[in-house]
Symmetry: C2
Amino acid sequence: MNDGGGGQDCPDGRQMLDRIMASDLRYLMAVSYVVLANNQITNRFIERRHDMPVQAWSALYAIAQFPGLRARDIQVLFPRPQNTISRAVALLVRRGHVREDPLPDDARAKGLHPTAQGLALLDRILEPVAARQAELMSPLTRSEQEDFLALCRKLAAGPLLTRSQVMG
Amino acid sequence: MNDGGGGQDCPDGRQMLDRIMASDLRYLMAVSYVVLANNQITNRFIERRHDMPVQAWSALYAIAQFPGLRARDIQVLFPRPQNTISRAVALLVRRGHVREDPLPDDARAKGLHPTAQGLALLDRILEPVAARQAELMSPLTRSEQEDFLALCRKLAAGPLLTRSQVMG
DNA sequence: GGACAATTGATCCAAATGGATGTAAACTGC
DNA sequence: GCAGTTTACATCCATTTGGATCAATTGTCC
């Protein structure tokens, strides 16, 4: 049993979530909860089905959207450490999902392009992920979904998101 | 140089973000970007200042909010693997921030309580984290902030968030 | 009360992570 | 064009992660 008798401090899960999402850190708690809980589901699913970590298929998604980009550019879209991106790209190249072209004007960098096989894999990955996104967003009306997206984009556009003043 | 001449496929970072956040996975991309970018900042900062991973101070926050809860309950608030919570609690106990009381009605579980030292530490942690939250949310008006919170809470309340139909 | 399942939390260990460093190429100032 | 700095990416290695398993306790059903 969770609480039972006189427990005034330990309500059930729903009540705890409500209180955490009304606390001082409510904005952080609420949005982090949604993303953490969703990642738990989505990342494990794709990891099992395709033996591929989230960084790899995220990178593949970016490369398919912007053929020719460099590994460095992926970091702008997915804020992860540099070596994480490096390894994800290496995995994609090793499995034949991505091809690296030396850039004519910079011998250090490599232009990344999806292969036909990579695009086919991406299709198979995106199908359940898109369905999961729909499931995740289903508590909101269409109009609320668009509001939510607009607010997230506004937060993402904030210059302090990636370069904090209050934290070094 | 990033693009320069005729590159129609590799716009700059801002344009790439805009396009990713207008793609099929726009909802997922936008909200994940905000949380990932923020975690990058906040988690590293607290990790450096207090040598403490995010799981530990999150757990401490939960324990302070709900004195007497069990390790298991923390998982409801912060969806992470069970052993992750177990280790975070062990760290808090080892450092004297949390005390474990055997529960009278269940000898397996332990009631977790913050110590005075733990509450003092939490205060020192929450100050910059709250400031960071304000910074993060600053692109939104007060009213938009409340809308955002309400939408996140609505998503968090969705029963499919933690138990997907489309993914096992 | 006894056998079987479920739950709580700790621990094992192979694999992933990320800060630091390395290597090579490109800018910068003189 | 030459030192010093910066940038792109790879790699090293100590630490962390998380799936699996374990031990202990509780619940269930007969």
